[in-house]
Structures are given as structure tokens and as C-alpha cells.
Amino acid sequence: MTALVGAELARIEGVGYRYPAATEAALADISFEVGPGLTAIAGPSGGGKSTVLRLLNGLVPHFHGGTISGQVLIGGRDALRTPTATLARLVGFVFQDPEAQMVRAGVEDEVAFALENLAIPRALMQARVEEAMAAAGIAGLAGRRIDTLSGGERQRVAIASALALRPRILALDEPTSQLDPAGARLVLEACRRLAAAGTAVVISEHRVGALLNMTDRLAVMQSGRLHGPGTVAAMLPKLIDPPQLVCLGEALRWDPIPLTAADARRLAPHLDRAGANASPATGDLAWELRGATAGYETGTLLDGVGLAGTTGQVTVLMGPNGGGKTTLLRSIGGLHRLRSGTAWRRPGRVAYLPQDPGVLLHRRSVRAEVAYTISRARSAQPAGLIIDRLGLRGLADRYPGDLSSGQRQRAALAAILAGDPKLVLLDEPTRGMDGDARRALTELLRAMAADGASVVLATHDSELAAEVADRVVIVAPGAVRDAGSPDAALSGDQAFATDVGRLYPGGPVTVDAVLRRIAAAAPSMAARS
């Protein structure tokens, strides 16, 4: 066994891994070390990020099985021979879905669960629970029930639960992918504080824009191979899905590339309004809510909402976790019974993507899922069309249950968007998706809108909204507000502003739009000079 040296807390050497019954290796000859501070692992969907994190606490291979080679040392222990339950003392783990990992009903009980498992004396538990809750920034949640918390709050409870054992390593698997910007900021801030205090924090994320300015080391995982980790500056060119500021900086040849909007603001060129996008033409009424009031046993979320959408229009619903986006989306589709008011839709098939794509996918292949929808819709559309448009050709004959979360999301989208639906309702469609998949979805939605479909999607993904929306509606408990065009809704100091939007109050909010404006202004600038 190789002894750990210096500040290393974990060493992975030459690890190859294959899941049971998988035809391809999930990890191929991975080697890296983890020390105190924050390490970010970026990369596309299905690239192996989650698998690498599960190496750290032994879930791979102890829980998942499969065949593994190489060496994994965690705090000097051979992780391949040490049970996960034992490694839990050294490695805290936070899963992607804050709902799925909760095992107790109360916040303190949840945080104390790991302490109970490792037989920490009850006399010590209360102090450890309070310490972990303070470190995760959730001291104010004491006494609350888990089912009353927002997604961001639940995720920080999960972090506190992992911290209660005072682990030396904290691994987080896409911890912000289901959170609104405010919730994500709080989670990342908690991680930053822990890293500063000496914990080795390892975070996997598809999109690392919010992490770059706080990350000590950055690695990129793709097709089972790891690049790095290295410094952020050294690894930026290897990012598969670089954040907006990096794209803009590279296009405008900024050096060094700024990692925050505040730094970029000093470099951003002034833009005039000449190249601003014109408002899209409006079509016929496609759906309408009148005085819609809806909610659950716990309270009212929509209170007398009046909202309508037209054919050819893409409406994006944004707002805080638990604010009512899903309820509004379902109300539009007639899937949620209104307490009062009316919901009207023009005739035609409704396509609905729920938050959990698993409920859609249970046929033998992705192609069979698409063919099923097409046959039921009595459409002449070939199944291969939408499979190709969503970049799923290589996965078309795979069983959906064997795909990564991002790939499953795309498969679910293909399954519901086939057959020319007239009304498209998507709930967090880019969850777990990498850049290429997001671009394919954006193009597909624009094409469907151009063909006359009305699209409504609920998302926290500001960049998706900036790319695809005709208008943005902000949904908060008891208040639904039409915030207008993406340029108005996603810029300046708005809660959901994109990084580019923060540079340009009033827009533009995408990199392409900035570059178009610069290109459009170039002749007149040349003439003036």
C-alpha cells in the first residue's frame, strides 16, 4: 500500500471500472489526488463524474458491484477493501436529488442519522448536529420538518448531514442542478466556507460557471477519462461546456479570462441598441388561464392567475423553488385541478415532460419509446427524425434505464416531443444535460415553435431561457408576473440574470447576441473613426 504524503486525503491510481453488465468501461485509467480546498469536476452527461465521486466513499464498487482495477486510498485506507459504512467517517456524500436522499422526517433527525449509525454517544450528538447545521448555514431550520423545506434548504440539510461526522472529504454530486439561483448560491457558499476551513470538497457539475471563482482545482471528465485536475486557468480550454463569460472572453480575446461578472464588466465593450432583437410576431391564442387558483393541502400557490400564450411562442416560467412553476405548468396542461378559474387549450396533443423522466421510460429502447408516442399520435413522422435532432442516434437502441441522468432526460424529451404536439410543457428540461444536448434542445424547441407549437417550460436555467424564450414569466408564491423579453427579465440585477446579462442591463443576455451587436456596430464605428 502506498502511504499518503503531504496534504493528500485521497489518491486514486490507475482505476478502471465497469458497471455490472455494462459493455463499456465507466472509468478508464483514472489517476488523481484530492487535498484540502475545493476541487470541481466538470464534463458532459454520462462522462463518469458521478462514478468518480462514488469511488471516494466506496459506493463504487461496494454498492454498485461491477469490476474494478487500480488503487483507491482514502485517508490511508484501501477503499476497495473498506466498506462504505466505514468510509463514511472520512467521506461525506451529497447526492444530486435533495428529495431522494432524505431518510428522516425532521431536520435534526436527518442531520443526526449518520451520527446514530456510527454510534456517536447521544450526549455528543446535539452539539455535533448544531455544529453541522451552522456550517451548512441552516441553523434557522431547527425544528422544521423536511417536507416543509424548499429544494435549496433540503440540499443544505443534506450537506449538514454529511458534515455531522466531521468528514475530511465532502463529495457533492451536482448539488445545485435542481436549485434556483438563490438556493444554489447558498449551497456553494457553504462549500466555499468548508473548503476554506480545510475540508477537501469535491463537486461534480455539468456547468461550472458559478464555481470557477472559488475553485482551487478543476478537472474535466469525458468518456470515462479524467483531464486534470489543474488550476482553473490551465483547465479552462479543456472545458466541454464553458460558461458564458469564458465563451465571451475567448471570442473577444480577453486575457486573462474573467471568472465573475464584476471582473468582466471592466472589459466588456459598450453596445448600442442598433442590433437589439425585434419582438417576435404573435400567433393565435393557444392556451389561457383565467382567474386560476391552485395549490395543495399545504397552501395556495396560484392565486387568481391570468396568463395566456400563443402559437409559435416560447414562454419560460422562472422563479424560486417551491414557488409554483410546476403547478402553473400542470394547470396550463389541465393536469392540475384548479380550485377556481378556468384553463383553456386549443385542440391537439399536449406533450408534458415531468421532473422525473423515469416515469416515461420503460420500453426496451429509446427508439421504441419514440415509436410508441408516434404510433399513438397517429403521426407519419419517422422515429429517427427526433432521435437525430436530440443527438440520440448512438443511444437509440439502448435500454433507457441504462443511460446516465442527462441521457435519460434527452430520451424522455424525444419520447414526448415526437408526433408533432401542439402544446409542449417541459418541467426542468435541461436537468443533467451537457452543452451539446442543451443546444440541440434549443434548436428543436425553436423549430417546433416556428411550426406553430406553443411551448411553455419551467426552468432555473437562465442560459436556456436566454436562448429560447420569447418571454419570461416569474412565478413566486401568490404572485405571477410577466417579466417581458429575456433581455428585460434576464439582465442587470434581476435574480435570474445570465452572466452576460449582468454586464448589460436591458440586454443582450447571450454571447451570440453580444457578438452580433459588436459585428453590427463595426461598420458604423469604423466610419466614425
Binding site: 447526492f95 431518510v103 422526517a105 446514530e116 449509525n117 454510534a119 450528538m125 416515469v359
Partner: protein, 290 residues
């Protein structure tokens, strides 16, 4: 912090006693009593946010299936009501009143058994059950906890899968629509339970003896409920040993079941959790710091 509501081991003991009563007496009257008592317990003690409607719906469908299936495969009995053609493989033959009644009695037994264990899922949090298991049985407890997590998840999955299917044009309505969603619901709920098991493993569950954040001592009500549940089993056992008829079969000629007041009293002892002043869901167990 004083724990509120029934102790997890009390609920587990109650379920075990109810199952024992069902095993000791196959008379549908006693089994129906157990089912009613269990239903009362679920209504009074189930956790906030859990729904009985879907579970009852599922159980009813299975019970109806049992009732309908039995007359097709069992052809004994004195009162022939109809006759299916002999060339029908497996189901051809007489359809008798006795086989229909027997199917109904079997359905009552199935309902009673299912309702007897449902409190483990709807009254307890999935991991509260862990508290009820001896340390040496942590592996079993993990599996049981994950399995019981299926019960509330099934209802949610059922609604979501059926909705997704109908929006994609899966148009069957009524009982037949169940056939379309059984496999997806099973896969979705199993996946959810695997995720829960993975989360528990990652947080050290199964590493050895556990301690408890909350005071896990028994209260007077727990002792009373356990004593009553044990009493129910002993009464039925004593009645059986004393030769009191606890079983009932409709063959060869259907007749009303004999009912023993002693056995009825034994079954009613299981109603202790409902009759005693035990904290219900309004007095949440998890509220407040330790």
C-alpha cells in the same frame, strides 16, 4: 426530548400480532375485524402527507382479482351457478357459489394481511423501522426499510406514470389501464428504493451498533398496546387449543361461519392503539430539538 406517538417497535409488534391473528384464524369474520382495526389505526395514526386512497385502491383491485379468479380455477362445491366450456384450458368446468364465496373470503384475508403491515410504511417513517430492528439485523432492516419505502412511492409513481402514459396516447381506461402501468410503476419504485438504500449506506448505516438521537424509551401507551397485541394472540391461541372453531371453509356446501365471542374479543384487543390516548399525527414525533 420525549418521543411522541407510538414507538417503532410497538408498531412492529402490533403488525406482527395482527398477522399472527390472521394466521391463527382463517374465518373471514375475524380477518375482516383485523382489517377494520388496521384501517382505523391507519386513519388515526398515519403520517402527514401520506395518502390512503391509492393504497386502498390498489388493494381493492387485487382483492377483486382474487375474488374473480378463484371461481375460474376452483370448481368444487354443491351449488353450481354456471358452467364454462370444458375445452377452455385451466378454467373450464363448473362455477359454483362455494368457489365464489371462498374467493371472497380469500380476498378478505389478503386485505387484512396487507392492511396489517401497512402501518409500518404509513405510520412510521421508513427509517423509524430501523429503530424497531435488533442491531444484529441491520442488513434485513435496510432491505425492509427500502422495501417499505415502496408503499408510499407506489401511489406517487402510479399517478405519474398513468398521467405520462395518457398524455402519450395510452388510452385505456378503468381496470385495464392498470396493466399498462404495473411494470413502469414497479421499476420506478424499485429505483427509488435503491437510491434510498444507497443514501443510507453512504451515511454509515450498517457499520455496527447504533445510538439514538431521540429518547427511544417506551411509554405507558407503548406497553399497553404491546400487552393488548400480545393478549390478542394469546386469546386466539388459547381458543384454538381449546377447540374453539376458528377456521371456516365454504366447501362442500356453503354455510354461515361460526363466530366465537371470545375470538371476537381477542381480535378487538388489536384496537388498543386507536382506543388508548396515543399521540396522533398532529403531535409530530420529529418536532423540536432533542
Amino acid at each position: 426530548m420525549t418521543r411522541r406517538g407510538l414507538h417503532p417497535r410497538t408498531v412492529a409488534a402490533w403488525s406482527a400480532a395482527a398477522i399472527a391473528v390472521i394466521i391463527l384464524a382463517n374465518n373471514p369474520v375475524y380477518r375482516a375485524l383485523v382489517a377494520l382495526v388496521a384501517l382505523n389505526l391507519l386513519v388515526a395514526q398515519r403520517r402527514p402527507g401520506t395518502s390512503l386512497r391509492t393504497i386502498i385502491g390498489f388493494l381493492s383491485v387485487f382483492a377483486l382479482f382474487t375474488m374473480a379468479y378463484n371461481p375460474l380455477i376452483s370448481h368444487g362445491g354443491a351449488h353450481q351457478l354456471a358452467r364454462l366450456p370444458e375445452f377452455l384450458p385451466g378454467i373450464g368446468g363448473a362455477v359454483t357459489l362455494e368457489s365464489i364465496v371462498f374467493g371472497a373470503a380469500a380476498a378478505v384475508g389478503f386485505l387484512a394481511a396487507a392492511l396489517a403491515v401497512t402501518p409500518l410504511a404509513l405510520v412510521l417513517d421508513p427509517t423509524e423501522l430501523l429503530e424497531a430492528m435488533p442491531v444484529a439485523m441491520h442488513g434485513t432492516a435496510t432491505a425492509l426499510s427500502a422495501a417499505l419505502n415502496l408503499v408510499p412511492t407506489i401511489g406517487r409513481s402510479f399517478r405519474r406514470v398513468r398521467e405520462a402514459e395518457s398524455l402519450r396516447g395510452g388510452g385505456r381506461r378503468g381496470p385495464l389501464s392498470l396493466l399498462d402501468v404495473v411494470v413502469p410503476v414497479a421499476l420506478t419504485t424499485i429505483e427509488s428504493s435503491i437510491t434510498l438504500a444507497e443514501a443510507m449506506e453512504a451515511r454509515g448505516y450498517g457499520s455496527g451498533p447504533r445510538t439514538h438521537f431521540r429518547d427511544a424509551s417506551f411509554e405507558l401507551a407503548d406497553c399497553a398496546v404491546i400487552a393488548a397485541a400480545l393478549g390478542a394472540v394469546l386469546v386466539l391461541l388459547a381458543a384454538r387449543l381449546a377447540g374453539t372453531p376458528l377456521d371456516w371453509y365454504p366447501f362442500p356446501t356453503v354455510a354461515l361461519p361460526t363466530v366465537s365471542p371470545v375470538a371476537v374479543a381477542g381480535c378487538l384487543l388489536l384496537a388498543a392503539p386507536v382506543l388508548l390516548p396515543v399521540a396522533g399525527p398532529a403531535r409530530a414525533r420529529a418536532a423540536g430539538p432533542a
